[in-house]
Symmetry: C2
Subunit: 447 residues, 2 copies
């Protein structure tokens, strides 16, 4: 069973085993400690969501609207359809003229007009007259039914009708779909194709929607080179800027992938300064830990507007969130997510915090990925005191969905090749230390 | 329960009621007839899928790759990671030097190097020496473990270590994620964010993928005006070109929305001629029926490469499929879908036939929308001999998913405003004539 649109935090995970343990400064399996100041995933998510709001509405054309969220109600400019019209190719008739028609005793009547779709003609039908009419053409005054072409000899001067129409047969009434002024789409609706069509049909050429957030994506680290360029000892290809830019696009944002910058404070500070006012959010990766060259922390922590601290999760523990300082005129700076540098950590943190925030900025009411109740296909351990986000592959097994770890190394935070096979993230609550083969596990679907 | 990646045709619908009826030319509820030459949905789908193939692979950059399908295996250019490196900020050490360290009796050792991420340095550690090392920096020769910074006094000339590391602690081994030459992504994989990251990490700057199909979208009908422009009697806003262009984008194609053309054969023929060689597919709506001005049929039927005929479905019965004629040099013309003009019919036909074809052209192995087993929240009728595609709204009710018709008028083919509320299409098999309140119904999810 897939659960859509629900907030899943570790506090809501299935089958929690409350050991009553205190984890305020306990050393856990991988040697990391959890300081008392650490936030839970739920606390970090709450802080992130409290800091963002839907972006101010902008006017967008229907051609740009797919996936955006309406910031206004759309009302029909006219009745829809705007006039009584034919639902069939055939003949507009006065039904009383044809009551006795049969195949053996057809009724023959003069065709006084030929009404194509788009015509403005409105020839009044008198008793005994018919008009040829095409689908969508306006029903002429006097007509009260349409005879489909199949029930006639298709005559153009006179027509033989073999079957009487029912009352008001094949007439689509003005306003049948919507009346002028009716609300056809409500504020907050996500603009999927049929809704864009409804706006068009209502006579709308452009609409006010929350724009897709523009998101700068920057990797940090002097070890990073552009993929495909030669690497010497100590260097690796930048993968995070590609990962996170694609994830931004997939979340409905507009990524501006700025690639990798070295561990140099002035370079990073200049770049961030140049972005203020041009983007809605900045997603950084790397440089958030306790090392001597943690450039993101070095540049952002002194501002006082970005909080760095551990989150009780694995992977993804150290990270930062806040804003670039406001302009002199008080305009908010872009939201800043400072994610861990390890690709799996960066991805997990994106899914846990950045994606919901971008969805909220885009005006979406459904912020969260769907989850499934799966069955663990193998056992694995999870650290006490931290929620684990384990990349898993999913496989259907009858009515069950089986979850198996996507990489032999489990949630090892650098196993990017294995991560590419993961369709979901198994979410193991803080106080659960072991997933048992055959036992339940909640999986956030990420593909 | 959601079913993903399965082909759903009406022959596979749930709870079929075989009445043994013959429907070769039976008049059904709405007065339409089903000629013996009509194809079932499954037959039409089979014909469509047999006529399309994955587009020839093209080289695309990683920035353009999201959602495309790989047309080659991606192998790691080097070991990943390419060298042993530190998983923590700390000190690279020779473990034997530290076996007795405790908080009370720390071991003090000289720091002979400072290894930042990205460094090419490789200072050989002799017995009793350590190097400060940051996450991702290469492990120097002679070191066999990393002590996290938290277990030290963080000294830069000499360092006091309070805890001995475990064997090979915090060392990420070269090739741990992938060895040089290992396949990290296989041909046929859809490029989601983590896979793009895996390609980057493998040292790939561009990859061969099936391009997104380029699809021209054209509405036909002299009654159509651009939405927002004033309408006189007989005119309505074009909504189909917006509907179908957005649906193409949502299906992973690149829409080229050309708007509406009037019911004029020369205009349409010129436009279609100009498109040959520039697009992979053309989606037309309107002009496919039996009327006097059915321009699409008039232009395409004589070519002999586009078949027009009824499909046993409601709505969407009359439609055409084929190709623009091949060039003089034998190059195939674009695939042509001639859909009905009514918006709901056009949408249903797009979902049933165009979307699976575009997915195949894009190289996807999963061509079909997911379906859910829902419970009908109300009763409705369905025509004998035709599969019904009923737009429905879905609502969770405990473990059940309830399906209710999205518009009072049901599957009335012009109810575009109601269609905008539909999250799915209930698929009622050909030989089922009634859906009962509380009974099962299979729903294709379209949002």
């Amino acid at each position: 069973m897939v659960h859509r649109g629900q907030e899943l935090t570790v506090a809501e995970g299935t089958h929690r085993h409350d050991h009553g343990g205190r984890h305020t400064h306990e050393h856990v399996a991988d040697g990391c400690s959890v300081p008392a100041s650490a936030r839970t995933v739920a606390e970090q998510l709450a802080a992130v969501l409290a800091a963002v709001a839907p972006l101010p509405p902008a006017l967008v054309s229907l051609d740009e609207a797919l996936g955006l969220v309406l910031a206004e109600d759309i009302r029909s400019a006219t009745d829809t359809p705007p006039f009584d019209n034919s639902a069939m190719d055939g003949y507009a008739v006065r039904r009383a003229d044809l009551l006795g028609a049969t195949e053996q005793t057809p009724v023959s009547l003069p065709v006084v007009a030929d009404l194509a779709a788009g015509t403005a003609q409105n020839p009044r039908l008198e008793t005994g007259q018919v008009a040829r009419i095409m689908t969508g053409a306006p029903i002429p005054d006097g007509a009260d039914a349409v005879v489909p072409i199949e029930d006639t000899d298709q005559g153009t001067q006179t027509v033989q009708v073999m079957r009487p129409p029912g009352p008001a047969a094949h007439i689509r009434r003005a306003g049948e779909d919507a009346h002028a002024g009716d609300t056809v789409l409500t504020r907050g609706s996500e603009l999927w194709p049929t809704r864009i069509a409804a706006a068009a049909s209502a006579g709308t050429s452009g609409l006010r929607a929350h724009p897709a957030p523009r998101v700068a994506v920057i990797s940090t680290g002097s070890e990073l080179v552009t993929p495909g360029e030669p690497t010497r000892r100590g260097q690796i290809p930048d993968s995070n800027s590609y990962l996170l830019a694609a994830a931004v696009a997939e979340a409905g944002g507009v990524p501006i992938r700025l690639g990798a910058v070295p561990d140099d404070e002035n370079t990073l500070r200049s770049l961030l300064t140049s972005l203020a006012g041009t983007v809605d959010a900045i997603v950084l990766s790397g440089g958030v830990s306790v090392g001597a060259y943690d450039v993101v922390k070095a540049v952002l922590a002194p501002l006082g507007t970005v909080r760095f601290g551990p989150v009780k999760m694995q992977p993804g523990k150290p990270q930062g969130f806040g804003r670039w300082p406001a302009d002199a005129d008080g305009t908010d700076g872009p939201v800043i997510f400072a994610l861990p540098g390890n690709p799996v950590s960066a991805f997990v943190s994106f899914e846990a915090f950045v994606r919901p925030a971008l969805r909220r900025m885009g005006g979406h009411s459904e912020l969260f990925r769907p989850t499934v109740d799966a069955v663990a296909a193998e056992s694995w351990a999870s650290p006490a005191g931290r929620a684990q986000y384990m990349p898993v592959m999913l496989r259907r097994d009858g009515t069950r969905t089986l979850a198996r770890r996507a990489a032999a190394g489990g949630s090892g935070s650098h196993l990017v090749a294995g991560l590419g096979q993961a369709q979901g993230l198994a979410i193991v609550p803080e106080d659960v230390t072991r997933i048992d083969e055959g036992g339940p596990v909640t999986v956030m679907l990420v593909t």
